[in-house]
Point group: C2
Chain length 224, copies 2
DNA sequence: ACCTGAACACCGTTCAAGT
DNA sequence: ACCTGAACACCGTTCAAGT
């Protein structure tokens, strides 16, 4: 394993800092203090905080597995995206930072390019369809679904049951959905949603729909 | 039309400020200055900036049309979500603020509850399926797709063509997708994607897939 | 009791003063 | 030439001093 230059070292330290103390605690000043250097010393290696965050995203994107060659294209795409999901789950701050970035880095372009390649040369999809499918997948290509809410209405153990009667009256459908839910696995009963299940459900819904359109010879021009 | 109290007035001023000068320019100090009051005066009406942003989101959510009664459920859901999209498009900052919020407000719960109701009593979907479909739609229920990138790699008119040759070599699939795209309408040729088309493509992919699962009597327990 | 200005504890970044 | 500390222009919020 290569050591990497001082920039790589700095970026990895920043990633570790964000993993450990949260992205909101990551300031140029705090990071410098953690590294035992004066704040302005960081500016020798990065132009500013924007570039620091950019580099941190690249570190995470670099953790995504390379594409697998064998198997059918849909399974390959699925596996790759689920690998991206694992990388993003290891760094919970990364998804929000990625969403706030404005310009893609080379590492990001590499990943997207290879993913599109799986649709094009792997699956034989038209450039037209591949384009729209990438859009439809949206941030799911990064393994995350920007959820309706990061936290449930009130996750305090006691307050949940207390608030339920009045909530049930005002929001019957929400309560019904939140309570009468069949168990997917024993580990997630009663404690929120199985995020992995929800992610794969949506991913498969999109990939299956895409495959169906492909077999039908769909083009955007011939859309009703 | 009701006038609303001083809080409503403050929130509407904040929304107008964010619309006009951008959400990044919205600070307690700047907003107070705009209103001609001292910064601390705002704290008479809101507990802090978090609550201000919460109230601003509620103003935008309040602009979403009420559900339509007639027609089939899929068209009704589609129309409602596209109405949410229009509201969010009027306030470009709103989607990012919504994503950063942690707890839903009553207005948000009202919207979600009525949307689920359209699946349940309108479409006859099981609570099980309705649950997963809501997750699959994700932030699309708010009318926005967290895009892969807010801005293309380089949108400067001149630099685009200049960078193309080297980009084409490294990212052939991205370039292919970005350039060889059939025109959906004359107004969008050559200038980025037709966001509305991409949004409806993905929305229909998800709703059609959902309808198919419903007709098949899908349950999460019987999943392979 | 109410209002409000100064102050506090931050932030990213500039820049001039030191070596 | 290089490094670095103070300073600048912010931020949200506290709090004591004024009325």
């Amino acid at each position: 394993m290569r050591r990497g230059g001082p920039l790589t070292c700095l970026l990895r330290a920043a990633v570790a800092f964000a993993d450990g103390r949260g992205i909101e605690a990551l300031s140029m000043r705090n990071l410098a203090q953690e590294l035992g250097v004066v704040p302005m010393a960081l500016y020798k290696h990065v132009a500013g905080k924007e570039q620091l965050l950019e580099g941190m995203v690249d570190v995470v994107v670099g953790e995504i597995d390379s594409p697998v060659g064998a198997g059918d294209w849909k399974a390959a795409v699925r596996q790759r995206i689920l690998s991206a999901r694992q990388a993003l789950l290891r760094h919970p701050w990364a998804s929000r930072v990625m969403e706030s970035r404005t310009r893609p880095t080379p590492a990001v372009l590499d990943y997207l390019n290879s993913l599109i390649g799986m649709f094009r040369s792997g699956g034989g999809l038209s450039a037209d369809l591949a384009h729209h499918v990438m859009h439809a997948l949206g941030s799911r290509v990064w393994g995350f679904t920007p959820d309706l809410f990061p936290a449930p209405p009130d996750s305090t153990p006691g307050a949940r049951e207390d608030a339920l009667p009045e909530t049930a009256a005002k929001y019957p459908y929400i309560v019904e959905i939140a309570t009468a839910r069949p168990h997917h696995s024993a580990t997630t009963v009663g404690q929120g949603c199985d995020d992995q299940f929800e992610f794969e459900f949506a991913l498969d819904l999109l990939l299956d729909g895409c495959e169906r359109l492909h077999h039908q010879g769909w083009t955007s021009a011939g859309r009703s």
